[in-house]
């Protein structure tokens, strides 16, 4: 097991992502933030908190999205769904999807499918903490990236106890 981001580095990354997002979206009325269950929600909670500290005048709109029913590998194993909570209209808004690790792109593809069942957003952006760039299986790229790491395909990258670690297989 190798540490990719220590706790202070994770804090630093999260806050730098929050800063970038805040600069890109000075008016929080037109943008909503959506964390993808489960890792993306953990990261999203911190990012949204940090954005709220930067822009105290407006309330951040934040929801959680679960892709369980939309997985393309559903037949391998039936998984128990997580909570889905999109308590606002996404119609004509900019939606910022937040995930912990961008790997094959399949999760994001499923998340886009979920999102479109809630309405037609004006624009969707993607923010990830860790980008495993060389393993993409779909044409999906992030707009905001914490760190990019080189990994082997069988490695696992996980957020455990406020650290991001790489588990080699």
């Amino acid at each position: 097991m190798k540490t990719i981001l220590t706790e202070p580095q994770l804090f630093e990354s999260t806050h730098s992502l929050a800063k970038k997002l805040s600069d890109a979206h000075p008016d929080l009325n037109d943008v909503v933030f959506v964390g993808i269950q489960q890792g993306g929600v953990v990261v999203g909670n911190d990012i949204v908190l940090a954005i709220q500290q930067i822009n105290r005048a407006q309330k951040v709109q934040y929801g959680q999205l679960d892709i369980t029913f939309y997985r393309d590998d559903i037949r391998k194993e039936i998984l128990t769904p997580d909570t889905m909570n999109i308590p606002f209209a996404i119609e004509n808004k900019t939606v910022v999807l937040i995930d912990d690790v961008l790997f094959t792109g399949r999760t994001i593809k499923a998340a886009l499918d979920v999102l479109l069942d809630y309405g037609r957003p004006a624009k969707v952006e993607l923010c990830v903490l860790v980008d495993r760039k060389e393993h993409r299986q779909f044409p999906i790229q992030a707009d905001y990236v914490g760190v990019t790491v080189e990994t082997k395909k069988d490695d696992k990258v996980k957020l455990i106890n406020k650290e991001v670690v790489l588990i080699a297989r």
């Binding site: 029913f69 939309y70 559903i74 039936i78 128990t80 909570t83």
Partner: protein
């Protein structure tokens, strides 16, 4: 987590964990049903046959809608308009349907145990949508879901089941489920409609007095008088039944608390329940129907993965 079974034949052979898993999954499907697009792609590679050897409106529509909301392909079979009326056996009919690559069978039959028989002979997953006077598991699950949604918990909840207990598969499934989840159950009705074995075998209280029962309970699940299942006269007239066991507004107003009223439908208005009770704020009859779709989606979803 996975269910401990690959069929849903009855509540009797489910574990407490199975029931909790179905109910919590149903909560997520209920959220799906509030969206602008009330559909998920989970079962788009699954084909389901709805095999109804007995009439049904609510249950058949509810299953069909649940299947469509999960993106499954569905075919419908009604015994009255099929080759079953030409004398084809159940097993032959089902094997013929399965040879057309069907993965799951939702089945209602007037013979108790018909889905259990089928489960021993065919590879598809079977969901019992009501068999004779045995069980109606998805009704038990949706009733439990509705009680939990309305009152917060099943544990320790006092539930009265009122009416024709003898002929009711709904009562049986409800009793198994509520007991497993830690609720208290009292059955109430005329002695001729309550089987003698019930308190010992199923661990429920029996009370022949309606007023006392209502005073005791938090939730009253009022059953339909099943005229089609009574070959013998078990009470003298519908009017007499209604006087002794019908739920009316005056009776509810005379209680010291407000209880929740449920009914699995179809309602015989003015017999087991009066209109001003069925349509009142205390009644969650239509929520039960709404929840039925979410609960059936959960059952189909959880059973769909196991093509073994």
């Amino acid at each position: 987590m996975q269910l401990s079974t690959r069929h849903l034949l009855g509540i009797k052979n489910l574990t407490k964990e199975d029931i909790s898993l179905i109910l919590s999954t149903a909560e997520q499907f209920k959220e799906v049903l509030q969206r602008p697009v009330k559909k998920v792609p989970s079962l788009r590679d699954v084909t389901i046959v709805n095999l109804f050897y007995e009439n049904s409106t609510r249950t058949r529509f509810s299953f069909e809608l649940a299947e469509k909301r999960l993106s499954a392909d569905t075919i419908n079979f009604a015994a009255s308009s099929s080759s079953a009326s030409k004398g084809e056996t159940l097993l032959d009919t089902v094997n013929n349907i399965l040879s057309m690559k069907v993965d799951m069978v939702v089945m209602r039959h007037s013979a108790s145990g018909a889905p259990h028989f089928l489960a021993q002979h065919i590879p598809a997953a079977i969901i019992n949508a009501g068999d004779g006077i045995n069980e109606h598991p998805t009704q038990g699950l949706l009733d439990a879901f509705s009680i939990k949604e309305k009152t917060g918990t099943l544990e320790g909840r006092k539930v009265a089941i009122i009416g024709d207990i003898m002929h009711s598969r709904v009562a049986q499934s409800n009793i198994y489920l509520l007991k497993k989840m830690g609720a208290e159950v009292t059955v109430c009705g005329p002695p001729t409609l309550i089987p003698k074995y019930i308190s010992g075998a199923l661990g429920v209280n029996v009370n022949y007095n309606l007023k006392e029962t209502l005073e005791w309970c938090d939730v009253a699940n009022v059953l339909r008088i099943q005229l089609e299942r009574q070959n013998q006269v078990l009470f003298s007239s519908l009017r007499e039944y209604s006087l002794a066991y019908g739920i009316n507004r005056n009776l509810l107003d005379s209680l010291h608390k407000e209880i929740v009223i449920m009914h699995p439908g179809p309602i015989n208005r003015g017999v087991e329940i009066d209109s001003d009770v069925a349509d009142s704020k205390q009644s969650i009859i239509l929520q039960q129907v709404e929840n039925g779709v979410a609960v059936r989606m959960a059952v189909l979803y959880l059973l769909s993965g196991r093509k073994d």
